[in-house]
Symmetry: C2
Subunit: 492 residues, 2 copies
């Protein structure tokens, strides 16, 4: 019997958890809020890393590694930074355990108290800018374009697998520049890298925009974001890129001599995406049968299930399958032949559907005799009988088509969900239906806060695409003058 998945229409949140756990992506660990990423889930994350890493490097970024720990005092150097989010964090206070003198087990050795507490990095601007101080003296040392793939910890109270966990994996890029323009351009370049990755690799359409001042990263002068829409109509922030101005350079006293020989503070950007992308991938494309993985990220792109009664039939079908597997692998595709002998084909079908494998081939002795194979595509669940002759090329074409179809489906859904709303009554009604509302906003934090209080909707972003939103109008809430529409939604 295949594992049962809750229907989206019954309980979307439970459906999500079912997919994560039953498709073997991740599970809760014994440590509150920290997850175990299982091999199948990690294989998807590795594919994401590989593609993103190549994209970063092609823009000149190099990887490096900075310490896990940050001295407590560093966090308070950039005032907004610590106020913003750095307080809910894991604090290391001691460096030794000792045998419990009063019973079994081990206890913290009170004599091994640290002089200054260390915080497990919630993000690394502070320790990195403290390091950059020693790397930067002159304009010749700039730009510095570093990225690190690492774990970070934020002590979240309510956690959900991939979407919000105490420990998560991410990349954080930190760049240093001689001019404001160059640092800003880098922040823009990287949010566009994220958008391209989301579209082309994750098959996920996103809106690129600026965060409102209230939603900016703590310490940033501008935060750019990619916002995606999930099937339940809620938005998900999938990646951010920050223009940090000279804030961290000033806090850590990082100056450089410019070409004219004058000292100036260094300009900065930082940008990151995390294992949260896994959550976006699952929720954007999955269906009631399980995951629907875009071929570009599927650890297994093609699975083959043999159908047989006798050992002889089994061997004949498997021989053909291994031949096909070899041909597809030679062309760079990942293929699994499910030759487990103890499970029925129907069980296997359900399992691979749950795991979101893009293409499933099934073949029995009759197919073999007829020179055909049954091909099922995961996105539409459509089945067709295909001739074996020239099958490799058609499967490669099919993978390509699935990648595009998944994107187009998500795009159509997203586009249909963006509505212009011009009255407060309509706003309150429409926000209940989910999706993005494109509305005028008077630009004040007060209005933003009230809208959130009354509807739980937040400004997801001020889209960069000015054709969509640059127009004069009146704020949907206050009626005050507005020069631009912004995107509201409820969100993860």
């Amino acid at each position: 019997m295949a594992k049962e998945v809750t229907k989206r229409s019954e309980n979307y949140s439970q459906w999500y958890n079912d997919l994560v756990v039953k498709a073997d992506l991740a599970e809760q660990s014994a440590v509150r809020g920290c997850m175990v990423i299982k091999p199948y889930g990690y294989a998807i994350w590795e594919k994401m890393q590989q593609v993103l890493d190549g994209m970063f490097k092609s823009t000149g970024v190099k990887n490096a590694y900075f310490p896990l720990f940050i001295p407590k005092s560093f966090l308070s150097r950039e005032a907004e930074h610590v106020e913003g989010f750095a307080k809910e964090c894991a604090v290391v206070t001691h460096h030794r355990l000792m045998t419990n003198p009063d019973g079994p087990g081990v206890v913290v050795d009170p004599s091994a108290k640290l002089e200054e507490e260390l915080v497990v990095r919630p993000t690394s601007e502070t320790i990195i800018w403290n390091t950059y101080k020693n790397w930067i003296h002159s304009w010749r040392d700039l730009p510095i374009l570093c990225n690190q793939w690492c774990n970070v910890v934020r002590w979240e109270m309510r956690t959900r697998l991939f979407l919000r966990t105490a420990e998560f994996l991410w990349q954080e890029g930190h760049t240093a520049h001689a001019t404001s323009e160059e640092a800003y351009a880098k922040a823009e370049e990287m949010v566009n890298v994220y958008a391209k990755f989301a579209r082309e690799t994750m098959a996920l359409p996103v809106v690129v925009g600026h965060k409102s001042p209230g939603e900016r990263f703590a310490g940033a002068l501008d935060t750019l974001t990619i916002e995606a829409l999930m099937q339940d109509g809620k938005a998900l922030q999938a990646g951010t890129s920050h223009f940090l101005g000279q804030n961290f350079a000033k806090s850590f006293d990082v100056t450089f001599a410019n070409k004219e020989g004058q000292l100036d503070y260094v300009w900065a950007s930082s940008w990151g995406v995390s294992t949260r992308l896994m959550g976006a991938l699952i929720m954007a494309h999955g269906d009631d049968n399980g995951l629907v993985l875009p071929p570009a990220l599927a650890p297994i792109q093609v699975v083959m299930v043999p159908i047989y009664k006798s050992e002889e039939e089994r061997n004949a079908v498997l021989d053909k399958m291994y031949e096909l597997k070899k041909a597809l692998e030679a062309k760079g595709h990942s293929v699994e032949v499910d030759d487990r002998d103890t499970l029925r084909p129907g069980f296997k079908f359900a399992e691979w559907e749950l795991k979101g494998v893009p293409v499933r081939l099934a073949m029995g002795p009759r197919d073999l005799a007829a020179g055909t194979v049954e091909v099922c595509r995961r996105d539409t669940l459509e089945k067709i009988s295909e001739p074996l002759e020239g099958l490799e090329d058609r499967i490669i074409g099919l993978l390509d088509d699935i990648q595009k179809s998944i994107y187009n489906k998500a795009l159509a859904f997203r586009d249909a969900s963006i509505r212009k709303v011009d009255s407060w009554e309509e706003f309150k009604e429409e926000i209940e239906k989910g999706g993005f509302l494109l509305c005028h906003w008077d630009g004040t934090a007060e209005t933003e806060a009230r809208i959130q209080e009354e509807t739980k909707a937040t400004i997801r972003c001020i889209p960069v695409d000015s054709a969509v939103c640059m127009e004069e109008g009146k704020c949907v809430y206050s009626g005050k003058p507005s020069h631009q529409r912004v995107l509201f939604a409820r969100s993860y």
Copy 2:
């Protein structure tokens, strides 16, 4: 002026530090014992990861990710494990900072004390076996072959960049099996993967052997190791693979129903290599001019330095260099053209020697006219003039030759340093000269401890190559009967 490197003969330890810091591999951070791995150093580590990861995967291993934190109580479940090394570790006791009520900055919020302290993983056997408990029920769930690439923390008192740091990067494989034989075979397979990687990729000859019981990993029934020899005659343990028996399965109650339906505890192996390999690489091959990188791990395999006076000459030479670069990159090689206009060629030569780039090409207008180029190989510093005609293929051949030559040089040095020693007087004399001493040992921990006390030498391993060491004799220290020679050395 190029950066000055201390000579090995003057101060080997300072020479090592100079190479690490001046070749831009790594540096100390603001956090005691934690290093920053700089882009050039990280690029070497990434190449190591890539090759090793491919080797692991080809043995069926899959990557996964387990939590950074381990509940304190987990560490005391396996008694030997906690006694062995788990005590010097970073302990998280609180999960929040707060604004200092009595002054500037932030302080630990006393109300945010954790119920149970968390330890930053020094190694992950405990949290992983606690997870495997839920994954394993029947023989059908076995084997489990997981690896993770991650950071770990051991609160070392004396640290040295790459060789011993409080935080380091590593991979740790953890496998679960139905039988003792299978688990043992996996531990053996993986130590052989490490040995092959060391030889073929790092150009580093190693001795594969068993640790003596006293040097085993805490909780293991057998520890296999690869031991390398550094140029100062000290040994360096470069990777270990452990047969854990059923120890962790028993501590975390991980049982499975075997094919006969009987419950049994699961058998385990674990194995790891770390950024310590970077230290081995530097110390095994470097010379007084800097790093000597084997081409298989060099982030830049070929560097080209143009020589010119006029702008016209510069353009002509650079055009030719970019053409060559393109041709070499098309064949999968990494090439840098050093077109910096503010530095003299001699400075550039010294810098690329310091950074260990295997092949350097220099070309000026006279070379261009003659259709030649000056080729310098880093390992021997030999310079020859080569015709441009057919240069790509000869460079590729040269890289291959350098890889082999570096290995052969290290092998000759290592082999010359292994001496059979049969008397205690000779032992004390020979150990001062460095290298490996192959001696009879009576098999007792007492003798092992005394030899270490008197000479600082430890048993690096009991070699698996029985031809080398299986013979009857008398212990070099106690004179008691011995059935096998073992390898002694002073070590890092």
